[in-house]
Amino acid sequence: MALLEKRQHKHKLHREKVHKSTMTGGGSTAWILVFAVLFIAVAAGCANRFTAPGESEDTVQSDESKSIVVGFSQLGAESDWRSANTESMKSTFVEESGYTLIFEDGQQKQANQIMAIRTFIQQEVDYIVLAPVTETGWDTVLQEARDAEIPVIVVDRKVDVSDESLFTCWVGSDFELEAKKAAEWLNRYVTEQDIDPGDVHIVNIQGTLGASAQIGRTKGLEDAAVKNGWDLMVEVTGDFTQAKGKEVMASLLEQYDNINVVYCENDNEALGAIEAITMAGRSVGSDILNGKIMVISFDGVNEQALRYVREDKITCIAECNPLHGPRVQAIIELLEAGGTPDKFSYVEEEIFSANETISKLTVDGTEYEVTILK
């Protein structure tokens, strides 16, 4: 009982103290601040001491020199193509083949990607692989990577820098060629079905504005539309996503009732657009003379999209090969051996369709085989 009373007394005293310090304020905060500053100083000092002597760092390095550290800044995970691309990198750069992969998801923000590259530089990775979200704005950070002499391999979308030596090389797809293939396929189809080019009413659901894929695919279509005399009615962005593709298509169907070709700049948008078309009571297919809406798409990664090709829901898909991992690995091996890779290299890509009448396309003097899916 006495103990309890003692405790209660103590408790009371605390309360008075609490009350007091609420009134006076400042004191303890000042102490906390002093501690914080000390902490920072000590931490920074330690850090400096650890990094300063050359030998200690070397031993750390030699421990890990067996595996090549690759930092990969992916722009996000907006589409199936992107996921396949990420997966390709992850399955290529595994520990068994002598690599350590540090993966950073930029979540569609350039600021995140710049942050990621800076982190890679601080972590002293051996190679940086960058799949940039936009083309511009990379000069500063790539300069930092070059100062640290870390080779930067750009994949997929390109970077627009003042000095092209800021990155080692680029691997990716020729988006304009993809678009030319798709457009040429449409041209052949229109000619064979004896449709007046002026009756081809196209809407373009574009990708994320500013992305290389969007720029290349839009340009390919616009050029072909002028050349062949098609009616390219409107171009709206669908951000490479299924949800946006559906939303955009639904509103386009309300605005225009004569759409007969939908040109989607990736598969996800196409899937969304098909949903919207079906919901609006129209049907998709290559038979545009009988009121169907033809869907042309890109990528060819999504299983559902490929199945839709077989079912004639998507008429043709120009492939965009996401399997960059092996390509990048080959470049890293070449660099390790002291070689110089090509500045720009393209991955091989096909064109898929279920229509058997067109088996070959000629684009810019080169003949491409159409892969017929059954």
């Binding site: 408790h11 605390h14 309360r15 303890s28 905060t29 992969l101 569609q108 972590q123 100062d147 640290a148």
Partner: protein, 355 residues
Amino acid sequence: MSQTKKAPAPKAGQGNKFSNMTDTNLLLFITIVVFFVMYIGAILIQGKGFLKPQTFFNILNGNAALIIVSCGMSIVMITGGIDISVGGVTALVSMCCAVYLDFHNGNIFMSVLIALAIGLAFGVVQGFLVAYLDIQPFIVTLAGMFFARGMTTIVNTDPFNVQNEAFVALKDTRIIIPGLGSVNKLGKYVDAYIEIGVVAALIVVVVLFCMLRWSKLGRGFYAVGGNPQSALMLGINVRRTKFISHVLCGLLAGIGGFVYFMHVGSGSPSHAQGMEMNAIASSIIGGTLLTGGVGNLIGTFFGVLSLNTIQNIVSSAGLNDAWWTGITIAGMLCLFLVVQSVVMARKKLAIKAKS
């Protein structure tokens, strides 16, 4: 009687060494300790990158804008409100400044004024609606967020990088921190640096910290957030205080927007997406109570750092999917909310015991 009183007694005994602190200071103390434990843990476990001071400075460089915006958020939260328009305002400021500098060949001084004006305008309108028309701050600022995002797209749809020479020079200006550089693997010494935005952020934190602690207005924010009725009885103009808190938050969103713009150097409608949520999370981790009345800007500062240190740790640890970051942050928020409710429970006990 003695049975009922037994329960709180040992609890108070446990909190012994902390009990001479106010709630604000206790929460601040916890935040700072957690940050340092996390950072030192990262140094010990992951080493390499975290050993270099530049890693820390990079966190500062990348988050200077978030620090400024979070300070505004904390102030509003201290008065018991919330402002979720800050991310949108940041994007709008970036876009307007980008368009002004690039398309209209403007100068930097004017672009700063534009940034401040936009922030101030949002603050004044939202503050008026919240304080004088008694509309829920969440709803008002939600509208503000949509409006700002919409306006950003109207100003310019496409993302683009600013080429204006004076601006690019300003953006690339680096303040070298002497003595904290490090030797990279090629044996080259690289200076540690911070960007101008970091200086701005530190000034904002210090100035506002002093304002909150020592000025009449600053104490007013706490009083209004703690209990508006009592504040009114104390002779504080509650409406005006709330209004000013929103104006300040808007203004800081403007400043933060410009600092953000200086960091990324481009205008884009997708800029600063989710920034308001990060600002709220940082404030909470920093010890600001959503219910108002408690909070500290130094805590907010460390809240931002903690949030980003954890992201850094997660990605360096090779837990490479984006959702890992999300989950760790969620875990951290939960932890801090629990700590906060414990602190609040302690306060309630103290009040009960007194009466």
